[in-house]
């Protein structure tokens, strides 16, 4: 039961093959058996979930329908949920309970979802391995010695290990797509502004975006029908009509032009990754898509630009964690300055502190023009690169990460190397365009999943869904399972 996709479970529930409570219990049984190894969750909300499942069963019995009625879903632990903890995998928020639901949490609940628990992540979404987590790291279900990627590593691992039917993650520089890739699941980062950020604990406001992490593209389409839309509580949410993403599953993709950016296939890419990606491109060609070469010349500046802008925003977004109002407060507080310094020294992990310092530096007077302002200019150039490329193609097809999931502790002490694992995903965030990672094979050297990345124009998630779904109809990469 726990290994079902959302669409399968919906059909089973409708046909009364099992109840929502049974499904939820099956998911928790799975969690009980694999969670000690995977550690995908920060905390579970079993009692609440069972109540939600009971309610779902009542509604099902009454013949009511809702898009996610009775479907067990996990949320990354930076999506606020009213009445239960939202920790961001940080000591500073370990006991924080929001008095409000994030807009997406509310949307899931209204759609009848059962919230299983809150998944692990790199602290405040800062990291690419879910090792920067205060409570515990998360392991890759495909190989417990390897990382699940990050920062939404808990959500990816939970979906991959069937500890939920689907999950929500957030993507600031690849935090949905890279862990989806590493764990062999589907991860969609919508257009910036498509999904409300209200209640998403901010890392970098101009880059953060919530999106689905699922077993199939079709499930992502279904979740996209639930989350998103203009939110009066988020000024940056776009006033763009939400299409029926399920309709995109029926679209024919033959004749669509796929742009292959040459800069994504240069040095540094693992040969096995390249092989799977090239095979994926062949598959798409066999579906009638036309290959065109495109250029994204400013790719080489993306990582630097990203770390300037993301850290600048993060450094001030995280100022509110000062020990005054909520969250951790140091006991060593003889005066105000000490309270601030000790609270933040104790409450934040190394990577968070590194990024706060970096961000503070690039915004400081005397450095602002050279870093932040220049970063914004390069961001504009990167956006223009994509605009130019999309004049010649409908979707861009590229690798998602240069390597497969690396070993635990392998990169944790080398921030630069860690930052480079996001090199292929970061540009989409800087440009604000949507991107999806879909399973595209297994590396023959390490047995780990490889992902294929598709990117499209602003608010054209439908093309990603159409192409991704066709791809999954014609391949079985997404059906590969880790043996836990």
């Amino acid at each position: 039961m726990h290994s079902k996709t959302i669409l399968q479970a919906k059909e089973d529930l409708r046909q009364k093959k099992y109840s929502a409570v049974e499904l939820t219990e099956a998911v928790y049984q799975r969690i009980d058996s694999v969670e000690p190894k995977v550690q995908a969750f920060v905390h579970l909300t079993r009692d609440i979930a069972l109540k939600q499942a009971q309610t779902a069963d009542q509604k099902l019995a009454a013949g009511e329908d809702a898009p996610l009625l009775g479907i067990p879903i996990a949320l990354k632990d930076l999506i606020c949920t009213q009445g239960t903890r939202t920790t961001c995998s940080s000591q500073i928020l370990d006991q924080f309970v929001a008095p409000y639901d994030a807009t997406v949490a509310g949307q899931l609940k209204s759609a009848g979802a059962v919230i299983v628990g809150k998944t692990n992540m790199d602290e405040f979404a800062m990291g690419s391995s879910t090792e920067n987590a205060w409570h515990h790291p998360t392991m890759n279900p495909w190989n417990l010695e390897r990382v699940p990627g990050g920062s939404s590593g808990g959500s990816a691992a939970a979906v991959s290990a069937h500890e939920c039917l689907a999950a929500l993650g957030s993507d600031t520089g690849g935090s949905i797509r890279q862990p989806a890739n590493f764990c062999g699941v589907t991860g969609l980062k919508p257009t910036y502004g498509r999904v409300s950020r209200f209640g998403l604990v901010a890392f970098a406001s101009s880059l953060d975006q919530i999106g689905p992490m699922t077993k199939t593209v079709a499930d992502s389409a279904l979740l996209m029908n639930v989350i998103g839309g203009k939110d009066p509580r988020d000024s940056t949410s776009a006033d763009v009509a939400r299409p029926d993403f399920m309709k995109a599953l029926e679209r024919d993709v033959s004749g669509l032009r796929m742009g292959i950016p040459k800069e994504y296939f240069t040095s540094g890419i693992d040969p096995e990754v390249e092989r799977s990606v090239q095979e994926g491109i062949k598959t798409l060609e066999s579906l009638g898509m036309k290959k065109v070469e495109v250029s994204l010349p400013h790719l080489q500046y993306a990582v630097a630009t990203y770390y300037i802008i993301a850290c600048a925003e993060a450094s001030t977004n995280l100022s509110r964690y000062d020990g005054v109002k909520y969250g951790h407060r140091s006991q060593k507080t003889d005066n105000l300055l000490e309270m601030y310094m000790n609270t933040r020294e104790e409450g934040f992990g190394e990577e968070v502190k590194r990024r706060i310092m970096l961000g503070t530096f690039v915004l400081s007077s005397g450095y602002y023009d050279a870093y932040y302002l220049k970063g914004q200019k390069v961001r504009t150039l990167i956006k223009q690169d994509f605009e130019n490329a999309f004049e010649h193609c409908d979707v861009i097809v590229a690798p998602n990460a240069p390597v497969t999931a690396f070993k635990q502790k392998e990169r944790i002490d080398d921030p630069l190397k860690m930052y480079l694992s996001d090199i292929y995903t970061i540009s989409a965030n800087l440009a604000g365009i949507p991107g999806i990672s879909i399973p595209a094979g297994i590396s023959r050297t390490d047995g780990m999943p490889v992902g294929l990345q598709l990117m499209s124009k602003h608010f054209d998630e439908e093309s990603l869904i159409a192409v991704g779904h066709r791809f999954q109809q014609n391949t079985d990469h997404h059906l590969q399972q880790p043996s836990l």
Binding site: Y100, R197, F198, V201, A202, S205, S235, T236, T316, R320
Partner: protein, 478 residues
Amino acid sequence: MKYEVVIGLEVHAQLKTQSKIFCSCSTEFGKPANENTCPVCLGMPGVLPVLNKTALQLAMQACLATHCSIAPMNRFDRKNYFYPDLPKGYQVSQFALPLGLNGYINIQMNGTRKKIGLTRIHMEEDAGKLIHGENLGSPGKSYVDFNRTGIPLVEIVSEPDLRSAEEAREYLTQLKAILDYAEVSDCNMEEGSLRCDANVSLRPVGQEEFGTRTEIKNLNSFRFVQKAIEYEVERQTQVLEQGDAVVQETRLYDSNKGVTFTMRSKEEAHDYRYFPEPDLVPVVIGDEWIQETQDKLPELPEQKRERFTQDYEIPEYDAGVLTTSRAMADYYEKSVSLYPKPKIVSNWIMGELLKELKNDEREIGECSVKPEDLTDLLKLIDEGTINAKMAKTVFEDMYHSGKPARDIVKEKGLTQITDSSAIESMVDQILQINADQVEQYKNGKEKVFGFLVGQIMKESKGQANPALVNKLLKERIG
């Protein structure tokens, strides 16, 4: 050496909105601590600001009423610093692109008009308030009240065009009047809706470049602004005359001691690390919106002053006093419409009414004597029911008791004596008692006539019709 004083003021005025600038919390003053708060203004994790359009509208009115040009795009910045009353660790403000630029207001000094430039007007959110435990019976602790957090403000920055403490005060008076007229702010200093920082420097007369300035922060009354500047000018003069240099720093004013003192030096100044607020999208302000706001702008104090001198033919001084607040001007115009003798009405408002209000430190809006009541009183004089002197006593009574003039006159039996025979008998009586004075008068000492009138009025307890007394006395003693 003779020095010229150079002053620039930064005024923070609260925009009179019902709700805060980025959330729907009430802006009502005087609520229990932290009652007007929500996750947004408390800076809880994951919450986002949404701009209150009314705040932007009022800020535009402030800009247009002070002849500022309006930025085509309204964008906010974050001003970063740590303080417990600042829940997000940054204040949402405007730095690079203020809403308004290059405006001015006119002030009147000793009958001449002077133009004071405005550098900029920008919008920002207010911070909260710290309450120290000593006041709550728990010394050593500090508490925060976030009710003010997120109250919309405009900061109005003047050019260094002011040359004396009096000019600074006059500038504030005019600015307050403009904000009041344009319906931008209540400008209530007690409730903290108007606050001022003053930049003060001296330079030798004739010198072009400015001297080193100090900034005096958080002045919360016009009087303190004037006093603090006067003190600071005196202090800087002494420093310079001793051959020392003024230190650039931020100072505070101690209103009890009447002195300014160092708050922080230039070296300790914050680096606020301003950058564009990514949680708010820029708002485009089209020409149409600006024009519409301009068209809806009510008559401003200067225009009103001119109209009063022309339409009511009252002196410029009167017009100035009567237009210091919109409520006062409205009071005056209403009164004149009920009793069309503009100068008499002006005299009564500037005299009796303002005297009472000043004693009580109240605003005209809080006055129980309404235009209808005042003009009824003036009509009683014209009708001859009471005389002007009696009217002043009646007015005092009206102001304190809130009763209508006619009731007071009736209750106290204050009706003027216009009966000739009654007055004649009083005249007889006084002439009898003051036979010597009558003799003196007849011998040409004319001043005695006034004395006799006074005696008769006194005898009548002030109620005799003065004109009649004069007439009858004249008949009797020629």
